[in-house]
């Protein structure tokens, strides 16, 4: 496989994420402009932060009059789950150059992580190349950034029903990626179910962001006992 065909194949894989991001980013752009951010600031945030949940929280906190330190701290803790996800993605990038790893790590989101780790139906080698990963991640990124730019121009163009449906669509992405491998392996299915149960319980006593982090760490530990020595 040549590099350009790997990029193209990555772009194809990333397209569903980009399409899912686009209308949600429009909603974000519209909200940001309502919160007195300029179009440039809203777009800049998507360009250099690229984290949906954090950006919504950040802008909502600005709207509520929170200070910079409060907002940045909240964002930091909300994103701790990316540390765990980045571990799994970087495990696939061990043979990449340090520069590629540093750059590609910027693009890790819930969705790109999900697709990169569980998206491959067959373990094709192309899926482990920098070109494929870059194609996938940058496509998702462009969906998010361009959506923000559009949303920042004409506030509130997307009906709430669409945003809700697309948000559920991203959950559909997670479910569609998780179910096939979880059906094949009782261990992986069990880990996922345990994590759901743990998260459901932990949310009652913890902040939702931390509940996800802790549920993931704990449920993945079950794998240490369930997974047989890897080939």
């Amino acid at each position: 496989m040549s590099r350009s065909s790997n990029i193209l194949s990555g772009v194809q894989s990333g397209l569903p994420i980009a399409l899912g991001y686009f209308p949600i980013a429009i909603a974000f752009g519209a909200l940001a402009v309502q919160a007195q951010l300029s179009w440039l600031e809203a777009t800049l945030m998507s360009l250099i932060v690229f984290a949906g949940a954090s950006q919504f929280v950040g802008v909502s906190m600005l709207l509520a009059g929170a200070g910079a330190v409060q907002i940045i701290t909240a964002t930091f803790f909300l994103n701790m789950r990316h540390l765990i996800m980045s571990l799994a993605v970087n495990d696939q990038m061990r043979h990449f150059s340090q520069g590629s790893k540093n750059l590609l790590s910027f693009f890790i989101t819930d969705e790109t992580f999900a697709l990169l780790t569980l998206g491959a139906k067959t373990p094709q080698m192309e899926k482990r190349t920098p070109a494929y990963m870059a194609g996938l991640m940058v496509t998702a990124y462009l969906g998010w950034v361009s959506g923000t730019a559009v949303g920042g121009l004409g506030a509130g163009m997307i009906p709430a029903e669409i945003t809700t449906a697309m948000t559920v669509g991203l959950y559909g992405l997670f479910i569609g990626l998780l179910v096939p491998p979880a059906r094949k392996s009782l261990s992986f299915g069990g880990i996922a179910l345990l994590s759901m149960a743990l998260n459901w319980f932990l949310r009652l006593i913890l902040d939702p962001g931390w509940a996800i982090v802790l549920a993931t760490i704990l449920a993945a530990s079950l794998g240490i006992f369930l997974i047989k020595e890897q080939s």
Binding site: L83, A88, A165, F174, R183, I212, A220
Partner: protein
């Protein structure tokens, strides 16, 4: 000015946890159990991302997210392409909002 500081600060604290594993994962030789733990992360993380989050997409209408989730689950049992699974759940939730909710 405050907005710019907020954006730059958010960019830094968002990139930090993303890049940390890129910087240290290769420096150490991890034991076999750690590899198994790493392998399990995608399943654990997706489990926690999906539930109960899917019920909370519309805070006062948990059934809406539930129906979307069930649709995605049923479609993925058919081993359809991921785009079709997404499209199916989007369509069901969109139509449900128009018709019922």
């Amino acid at each position: 000015m405050t907005v710019l500081i907020v954006i730059l600060g958010m960019a830094v604290v968002t990139y930090l946890p993303r890049v940390l594993p890129a910087l240290f994962l290769d420096r150490f030789k991890f034991p076999a159990w750690f590899q198994k733990w790493l392998q399990s992360i995608p399943y654990a993380a997706l489990g926690a991302l999906i539930f109960p989050g899917v019920l909370l997409v519309e805070k006062d209408q948990p059934l809406l997210g539930l129906m979307g989730g069930i649709t995605a689950f049923l479609l993925s049992l058919l081993n359809l392409h991921i785009t079709l699974v997404m499209a199916g759940s989007i369509l069901v939730v969109y139509l449900l909002q128009l018709v019922i909710f």
